[in-house]
């Protein structure tokens, strides 16, 4: 009776464990609502004199841009705040100083009034210079505020004509100032120099560059970029790592950004309780021209400086980021009051650049930290120590047979001994 009860209890426990095992992972991966913030997009349109050229589908570049803008304004999702800024729209003279200040807000970044925006676009006519750098700076100001993703879409048909200010560096500074600010560039009928400049601007902020030869390509691409801005993305939290672990900021689970210069090292601290697992991954982006061999090293070290585990990533050739990660399961402790261990995360990169390339601001660094419960440990290589394969079956059958044989002989011998007695 007792034995039967035990069996029943055992089966119940087994069923419960099974149910828990099946139910738990499903419950653990549900969606998480974060504080919703509106996405902002600023379309920056070149209205310089060269936009008069008739080489896009037989019409002028300006006509193609206007047509594209009309279609984009119709298709813009409700949740996106959209603004339009022009460059070179108002000053037709020859003075570079004045010409390079010529950028104006055609339509403020706000919830879209389609007719108003379309009327504003219709008034444009190709006029002046191409001050890309100043226009980008002003566009960044337009987008200021809010925590949602911010995107500048630059449409231009010529390279910057305001020489000392490099728009590429302007873009890098903008990206360093604002979190989640991306600049996408589109070149209308581009030449080599322009391609290089516009793709440099895009790369500096993690954006994309597209060459446009036809009007419908322009519409499709701008629509795609506006839609991309509408997609909800996790906004990282800005943090600043220290040069030593003792001064490092303590991070909780989440997504963080920082900047790291060439040859610099950054430390962060994470508290890990017994029985928890730390997962960290880091990616360092190449936002400027870097030498083609590079790497990143992420180390988890104790406060005393002993290395626990490391993640390494290396590569060569063209890239946007180099990334690596590590995990550190901390063993369960018998002591309920065991203190949390402080783990120092050390990030170093081995990017390098030619001498002309500016070192500041540092390369964008993205760090994800996850501290999850439950360390994993294994007692055997195979699953639960179970076996598989024909060799296993052969050995079991042979041993079983021999055991049966010996048992049989033993019992025969015993019976014989008992009979004779």
């Amino acid at each position: 009776m007792i034995r039967r009860q035990r069996l029943a209890a055992g089966v119940c426990a087994l069923l419960a464990a099974l149910a828990a095992g099946i139910a738990f992972p499903a419950a653990a991966t549900a969606g998480e609502p974060t504080g919703e913030a509106t996405a902002k997009v600023d379309l920056v349109l070149d209205v310089s004199g060269s936009m008069r050229t008739r080489d896009i589908d037989g019409g002028t570049r300006m006509a193609a841009a206007k047509q594209a803008f009309n279609e984009v304004l119709d298709a813009t999702p409700e949740e996106v705040q959209l603004g339009i800024r022009t460059l070179g729209a108002n000053y037709a003279g020859n003075d570079q100083k004045t010409g390079c200040k010529d950028t104006a807000q055609l339509y403020p970044v706000s919830t879209l009034d389609r007719t108003e925006a379309k009327t504003a676009v219709a008034t444009l006519s190709p006029t002046g210079w191409t001050p890309i750098g100043p226009a980008l700076l002003k566009a960044a100001d337009d987008l200021n505020g809010g925590t949602g993703s911010k995107r500048i879409v630059l449409i231009s048909d010529g390279e910057d004509t305001c020489a000392p200010l490099d728009p590429c560096e302007v873009a890098r500074e903008i990206a360093a100032k604002g979190i989640g600010m991306t600049i996408d560039t589109l070149g209308l009928v581009p030449n080599t120099k322009m391609r290089k400049q516009l793709s440099c601007i895009a790369e500096a902020t993690g954006g994309t560059y597209t060459s446009v030869e036809h009007a419908d390509e322009l519409t499709d691409r701008v629509n795609q970029l506006v839609d991309r801005a509408a997609d909800p993305v996790v906004t990282p939290v800005a943090t600043e790592g220290a040069a030593q672990c003792t001064d490092a900021p303590t991070l909780k689970s989440g997504l963080y950004t920082d900047r790291e210069e060439f040859g610099q090292q950054r430390f962060y601290r994470v508290d890990v309780n017994p029985g928890q697992e730390l997962r960290a991954s880091v990616s360092v982006a190449a936002d400027r021209a870097v030498n083609p061999d590079y790497g990143v090293l992420l180390r988890a070290v104790t406060v005393k400086g002993r290395e626990i585990v490391r993640g390494e990533g290396t590569g060569n050739g063209r890239t946007d980021v180099i990334s690596t990660g590590l995990r550190y399961p901390r063993a369960e402790s018998d002591d309920d009051n065991a203190p949390a261990e402080t783990v120092c995360l050390q990030v170093t990169n081995s990017f390098s650049a030619a001498s002309g390339v500016k070192a500041t601001p540092g390369l964008p660094l993205e760090l994800t930290v996850d501290v999850v419960s439950g360390p994993s440990h294994a007692g055997d290589v195979a699953s639960f120590g179970l076996g598989r394969g024909w060799w296993l079956l052969g050995v079991l059958v042979l041993v079983g047979f021999l055991a049966g044989l010996i048992w049989g002989w033993l019992s025969r011998w015993r019976v014989a001994v008992w009979r004779t007695n």
């Binding site: 039967r4 499903a26 549900a30 998480e32 993690g206 999850v372």
Partner: protein, 269 residues
């Protein structure tokens, strides 16, 4: 009495073992003619477009873009990623590459497949493939074996002429997996799959607000959930082995006892 109890318990165990086996094996990830396949790609790990296994995701982009997708892979699977890039009509020689990263953004090696391929000038398309190692349920923290969780695909051109920069391209990717089964079953399992941001996700799970417009690093999950990790066909092998051993034991025992009563013995003697 005792015999029947043991026998019924054994049957129960067998039934328990067989039920998840049937559940495990049925939904093999096969290409389904779905209309809901994503038509865009992300441009970073953070914005990667999530796809299901077997889905053919497409995206339009420009030469020089870094396109990102992510898909779930579970223990015992050997994922294969295939990508096709449609190139513009006129172009110089360019080299395309797919890289696969795991949930910790560690690059994962490809066992086979043309991970990098150079398209000769004027070629219409280029095909790439990458077969990963088998995903293990558990590995040591110091190894970089593939583990269950999110996998990122990055597709990009790694070598091109400046004149080709920004030209329109079309890309399609598909991630499939082969079920490797018990030969890859290892002891142990991860408490949570390697899904980035899972610690944040499970913490704020209680406050279900606007679920439609929520931003998470990765909300990826296989169609039938993550495997709990306890089942493998090793149970069957071992159980069958034990049964055979028992039979062989009985056989061996019977052999020593001879044929029992002599057959020529008259009945009742």
């Amino acid at each position: 009495m005792w015999m029947t109890r043991v026998l019924s318990a054994a049957l129960l165990m067998l039934g328990l073992a067989a039920a998840p086996a049937a559940a495990d094996s049925s939904p093999s990830p096969s290409a389904s003619g779905d209309s809901s396949a994503p038509t865009s790609a992300g441009t970073s790990f953070r914005t990667a477009t999530e796809i299901e296994q077997g889905q053919q995701a497409t995206a339009s982009g420009s030469t020089g873009d870094y396109l990102y997708w992510s898909f779930p892979a579970d223990a015992g699977q050997r994922p294969t990623v295939k990508a096709t890039v449609k190139l513009p009509a006129a172009h110089a020689a360019q080299t395309w590459q797919i890289d696969v990263y795991d949930g910790l953004r560690r690059r994962q090696a490809c066992q086979y497949g043309a991970q990098t391929r150079t398209a000769a000038p004027g070629t219409a398309s280029v095909d790439l493939a990458c077969t990963l190692r088998t995903v293990r349920a558990w590995s040591e923290a110091w190894a970089n074996d593939p583990l269950p969780g999110t996998y990122y695909i990055r597709l990009t051109v790694v070598n091109l002429a400046t004149a080709d920069l920004g030209q329109p391209i079309g890309a399609s990717v598909q991630a499939d997996a082969k079920d490797i089964g018990g030969s890859a079953a290892v002891d142990g399992s991860l408490a949570k799959p390697l899904v980035p941001g899972i610690a944040v996700t499970s913490k704020s799970q209680s406050d279900e607000g606007d679920s439609s417009k929520s931003a998470v690093l990765s909300s990826i999950e296989p169609e039938d959930g993550w495997a709990s990790g306890w089942w493998s066909d090793r149970w069957v092998w071992t159980a069958v082995g034990a049964a055979l051993a028992a039979l062989a034991g009985i056989g061996g025992y019977a052999l020593t006892r001879g044929a029992g009563r002599p057959s020529r013995m008259p009945p009742g003697a």
